[in-house]
């Protein structure tokens, strides 16, 4: 059933992914470009590591609206973390600290969300209900995120099909984690409460590459509004992956799209290999019913161990627990992901749930390499009564933590008999992933009793419809017909200047290549000169185009004019260069000729162009290139 053996990442084909039943969907988080946060009036988008005060909180699970406890919530409660929030008074008020009820929702943010919803051809909900989505990891001081569905049933074209959008919500961003060790977790609160949208796709991507491509499509879609934040952390994605017989696993917080393929590949491999592990366990006769494990305290036995971490732990009064997993011999080194083995699944749980964050936090009998001596291994087996086909896992810590850890080791090992446990996993740098928490379900949702439902009127939506940008893939099609290069058309299609481009090309009859250069390439070049190109707003650019079509700016002088505008901080018609007098043009050409005479010109056909280049440089674009060329040709002709 699970005969397929994973190939290296680069060798996997779409057929291979079909064989394992690869399925993936995305949850894309995109911060919105608003001045203020979503439910209070703190400024959005100000980040700092400094802080004025700290607050300590603990989180407790509560019941869902339908009267059930959420699995994740209970897990997080088990971990008993001290959550410390660092607070800077400029970025955080008493709302984020959960000492003041929410203010009314930020209407600007809501409008941006609807704008994206309209671009997704989604059904916008008639009445918004703000929910509390529980997060007991502490990433939000209230213990829940305020979130609301803004639309459902959207779609976006992809290849020869459409990818369905299940829903999009508007929500407040969470804290940034600053540290997590032992029983203490530290958060920065500056990002907390910033508005973002979460777009959820159907699990319709069939290969890791498709996941990245669809993500890029959606990222560009929201960017095309010009109303979302850009830069590091402004867009983050969670990727859901499953394989045939596996489980939906959420990989959280993928910061860059190009990392998605390898991450999803590794997750698919992990699930597949866990399913193969299950087969192996069943072959050995180990099922959920027959699974056997036991815990022994082996602190005394190992008090003189050669393995230093263990020795030091015992010396400082910690306990060592030995978990015997019956019949598991060799399975802790069962490969799960690239260079990653089943023992890592266990170590992760111990780290997160028992708060044993210092690694290594377990050692095991399938490989005592560089840990226990073989004599110690033998002694251990004898003392706890191990059979030849058993595996031992050792874990150490304070009494409560060690006991919790031993229990958790048994839980995770037993889950292997069932397959792939539902989890949220964190993306790691090497393209693999690690356990973060149990996958939360719908039970963690609770209506926000602090805010009433909000009616969304058709009038409001119709007004937004008037100003939404054209869909960028339609723009791209047009650009293709205009023969713009990809380098230009991709950024232009999602640029706030796209409408201006359309105007100057269609109405003012500016050459499309020229126009796109002005809009995309020139600001890029000026940016490289460290100029403040934010001065070049749509209005300024429009004025420049206007001067251009009236002949007051030449094609060649545009860059210089833009440069001056950036330097001066605004655009005034006085900044326009005076046209060079015929004498000045002559002088510039003569100077150029003098220069060029010193050079050895290899390709005589290009001679005029070289002269023109020098002359134009001298004139700083105060004359049109075509006029200069005419004079050059005349001059050269004379000399010849």
């Amino acid at each position: 059933m699970y005969d397929f053996v994973f190939k290296p990442f680069g060798e996997m084909t779409p057929e291979d992914y079909e064989e394992i039943g690869f399925m993936s969907g995305l949850e894309i988080h995109q911060q919105l470009l608003t001045k203020k946060k979503l439910f209070c009036h703190c400024p959005a988008g100000r980040y700092t590591h400094s802080y004025n005060a700290e607050i300590l909180r603990h989180m407790r699970p509560t019941l869902s609206e339908l009267g059930e406890y959420d699995g994740t919530a209970l897990m997080e409660f088990k971990t008993k973390k001290n959550i410390i929030y660092r607070i800077h008074r400029d970025t955080v008020c008493t709302y984020e600290m959960d000492d003041t009820p929410p203010f009314l929702i930020n209407e600007d943010a809501l409008d941006i969300a609807f704008e994206v919803a309209l671009l997704l051809d989604a059904s916008i909900v008639d009445e918004i209900h703000i929910a509390r989505k529980q997060y007991l990891d502490g990433s939000i001081p209230t213990g829940f995120q305020r979130t609301a569905i803004t639309c459902v049933n959207g779609k976006i074209p992809y290849k020869d099909r459409v990818i369905n959008i299940i829903q999009m919500s508007i929500e407040e961003d969470s804290c940034r984690e600053e540290g997590d060790s032992g029983h203490n977790r530290i958060y920065l609160t500056d990002r907390l409460g910033m508005p973002l949208i979460e777009t959820v796709t159907a699990p319709e991507m069939k290969t890791p590459q498709e996941v990245a491509e669809v993500n890029e499509l959606l990222r560009r879609l929201s960017r095309s509004t010009g109303h979302v934040r850009t830069g590091i952390g402004a867009g983050r994605e969670d990727v859901n992956v499953s394989v045939r017989g596996g489980t939906r696993i959420e990989i959280k917080g993928v910061p860059q799209i190009h990392r998605i393929p390898l991450l999803t590949y590794n997750e698919a491999m992990r699930q597949w290999n866990l399913l193969r592990l299950r087969e192996e366990l069943h072959r050995r006769g180990i099922t959920q019913e027959t699974f056997e494990a036991k815990v022994d305290d082996v602190t005394f036995l190992l008090r003189k161990t050669v393995y230093q971490p263990l020795f030091k732990a015992i010396e400082s009064g910690k306990l060592v627990k030995c978990v015997t997993l019956r019949g598991f011999k060799g399975l802790l080194t069962w490969q799960t992901q690239t260079d990653t083995y089943f023992a890592k699944e266990i170590s992760d749980r111990v780290r997160v749930i028992a708060c044993l964050t210092e690694l290594p936090n377990i050692i095991h009998s399938d490989s005592y390499e560089n840990t226990l001596s073989s004599a110690e291994g033998q002694k251990l087996r004898k003392t706890v009564g191990t059979h030849d086909d058993d595996s031992l896992v050792l874990v150490w810590g304070d009494k409560a933590d060690a006991e919790m850890a031993a229990n958790e080791i048994i839980i995770r090992a037993k889950e292997a008999t069932l397959g792939v446990p539902s989890e949220t996993r964190q993306a790691l740098r090497d393209g693999t992933n690690g356990f973060e928490r149990i996958l939360p379900g719908p039970d963690r949702m609770y209506p926000d009793t602090d805010l009433p439902p909000k009616r969304i009127t058709p009038e409001r939506i119709n007004k937004i419809k008037q100003s939404i940008p054209e869909k960028y893939w339609l723009r791209e099609k047009w650009y293709q017909s205009l023969k713009l290069s990809d380098d230009i058309s991709k950024p232009l299609a999602i640029s706030p200047f796209a409408d201006l481009f359309k105007l100057v090309v269609n109405e003012w009859k500016v050459n499309p290549i020229t126009a796109s250069n002005f809009i995309i390439q020139f600001p890029k070049r000026l940016k490289r000169l460290r100029l403040n190109t934010s001065i070049l707003t749509i209005d300024v650019m429009k004025s420049l185009f206007d001067e251009y079509r009236n002949g007051n700016i030449t094609k060649d002088s545009m860059l210089f004019v833009m440069q001056d505008v950036c330097r001066m901080g605004k655009f005034e018609p006085e900044y326009l260069p005076e046209k060079a007098t015929p004498e000045e043009v002559e002088a510039a050409i003569d100077a150029a000729l003098l220069n060029v005479n010193d050079l050895e010109i290899k390709i005589m056909g290009k001679f005029e162009h070289i002269i023109s280049g020098y002359a134009m440089k001298n004139l700083r674009g105060r004359a049109a290139a075509a006029d200069v060329m005419t004079i050059i040709k005349k001059k050269i002709g004379k000399e010849k």
Binding site: E65, G143, G441, T449, P452
Partner: protein
């Protein structure tokens, strides 16, 4: 058309019509077809009665709720039914003969609460089993018994409830309980704390009032920790007084025990909203220990000699003085048969001259008038200025450093005992439970001003 309202709870008008057309009762698992091409799959929820008539609320599979406009529904297909069973898991509270007996009385508030579908707000829920289910730590402290006296928001507490609570407490003390905890909404907790301080005298055991600023339906609630602190205080502390036990800082760190007559809610939403005014708190309490901050308190005793005086005259009010107040404010109270007026005066205890004739009338009509300060901190001192002396001539009695709300509660209690204003005055002037103190400690008044370097340094050093 006849129908069972419970089946369509909260729906009216267009929303109700749409649901009834398809017989889609609440809790139905449905597919709703809309004329905009959308299909919505989820469970129909009850609707808040305050919400409009135009929308149907469903809980989507993802757990989110949305409202769908009733007039765009073209079909509802019913696939099943899932009724919410909102119940805190109840577990029998374990009994340990070695642990003290603590009685928890419930009056309402958010210390234990659940969702109310009618209003969308939270309503209280409460039983030892439920409490044990959600705060199992309580079993490490005591054997807990609970009794729900009332289920009201704290603004709806009144004389009937105060008297009932006092009697219930006294009865429980006589039965031998080691400590009392009273769950109470926070808004008027200090009013109830004050009146219980007067009605219940000579208690041999701690009487601890507790509530929560963040309802217990949220993970960051202060309810569990407040409950743990208060139960610990009731079970173990040596302080046999009426106290309020609430968060010290906003952090989940420690609680403060405030004397019932000196405590006041000082912030509309902070966790650390309760402060002792004009004194220092009695003690700090955390999960492990109770740390007294003063030796000036009544000690726990083994006897059961509690005394109660459960009386209250309802015809009295507080007048919060403001410049330009007209005398008819006072006159109307006199004309309406009020028997007592507590004035919260400016500064050391002042009102403007135009009020004097009204005060004179009050004196003539045998209405008791007492002066407190709206500065909350500090004493009434009516000798400093002539205006004060004039007012005393008119029968206004300065109430030292008694808080306005406390003076109100005490005056109602005193008037309940006697119609003789001299007798009432005697009761008012005799300190019973720290409501008047002879001296204000130099660290009693501390309102730090944020922004000042030394205060910022302090804030950066200790958890807020």
């Amino acid at each position: 058309m006849e129908y069972n309202q419970e089946d369509y709870k909260g729906y009216r008008g267009a929303g109700l019509d749409a649901l009834m057309q398809y017989e889609a009762k609440i809790w139905s698992d449905v597919e709703i077809i809309a004329n905009d091409g959308g299909t919505y799959i989820g469970i129909i929820l009850p609707r808040s009665v305050q919400a409009d008539e135009e929308h149907i609320v469903i809980k989507l599979r993802s757990g989110y709720n949305i409202g769908i406009s009733a007039n765009k529904i073209t079909g509802i297909k019913i696939n099943g039914r899932k009724v919410a069973n909102y119940k805190i898991p109840e577990k029998a509270f374990p009994h340990d003969p070695k642990k003290p007996r603590v009685k928890l009385f419930g009056t309402g508030g958010t210390i234990a609460s659940r969702l109310d579908y009618r209003t969308g707000a939270v309503i209280p829920a409460f039983s030892p089993g439920e409490l044990y289910g959600s705060v199992p730590e309580l079993a490490d402290i005591c054997n807990l018994e609970t009794e729900k006296l009332y289920g009201v928001f704290s603004e709806n507490m009144g004389p009937e409830q105060w008297i009932g609570t006092a009697k219930a407490i006294a009865a429980e003390i006589e039965k031998g309980v080691q400590g009392i905890v009273i769950g109470h909404g926070t808004d008027t907790m200090h009013h109830t704390a004050a009146i219980l301080s007067f009605m219940i005298q000579n208690s041999p055991v701690p009487i601890v009032m507790v509530g929560s600023q963040r309802s217990s339906d949220r993970p960051s609630s202060d309810a569990a920790l407040n409950l743990i602190h208060s139960v610990k205080t009731a079970a173990e502390s040596d302080i046999a007084e009426v106290m309020v036990c609430m968060f010290g800082p906003t952090s989940d760190d420690y609680g403060l025990l405030h004397r019932g007559t000196r405590v006041r809610k000082m912030h509309s939403s902070y966790r650390s909203t309760f402060r002792t005014i004009g004194e220092i708190p009695l003690a700090m309490v955390d999960r492990n220990k109770i740390t007294p901050l003063t030796q000036d308190y009544k000690r726990r005793r083994r006897d059961r000699d509690v005394k109660i005086i459960p009386t209250f005259e309802e015809r009295l009010g507080i007048v919060y003085y403001y410049p330009n107040m007209h005398p008819d404010m006072i006159d109307s109270m006199i004309d309406n048969g009020y028997r007592g007026i507590v004035i919260a005066g400016t500064g050391l205890g002042h009102v403007n001259k135009p009020l004097y004739p009204a005060l004179k009338r009050a004196q003539e009509k045998n209405v008791a008038v007492y002066m407190t300060v709206q500065t909350l901190w500090g004493y009434v001192q009516m000798y400093v200025y002539d205006t004060g002396r004039d007012m005393m001539e008119l029968g206004v009695v300065p109430m030292a450093n008694m808080l306005p709300e406390v003076a109100y509660m005490k005056l109602g209690w005193a008037l309940g005992q006697s119609r003789d204003l001299e007798e009432v005055k005697k009761i008012m002037m005799t300190p019973i439970a720290g409501e008047i103190t002879e001296r204000e400690p130099s660290n009693g008044y501390l309102i730090y001003q944020g922004g000042i370097p030394e205060v910022e340094e302090f804030i950066s050093k200790y958890n807020k």
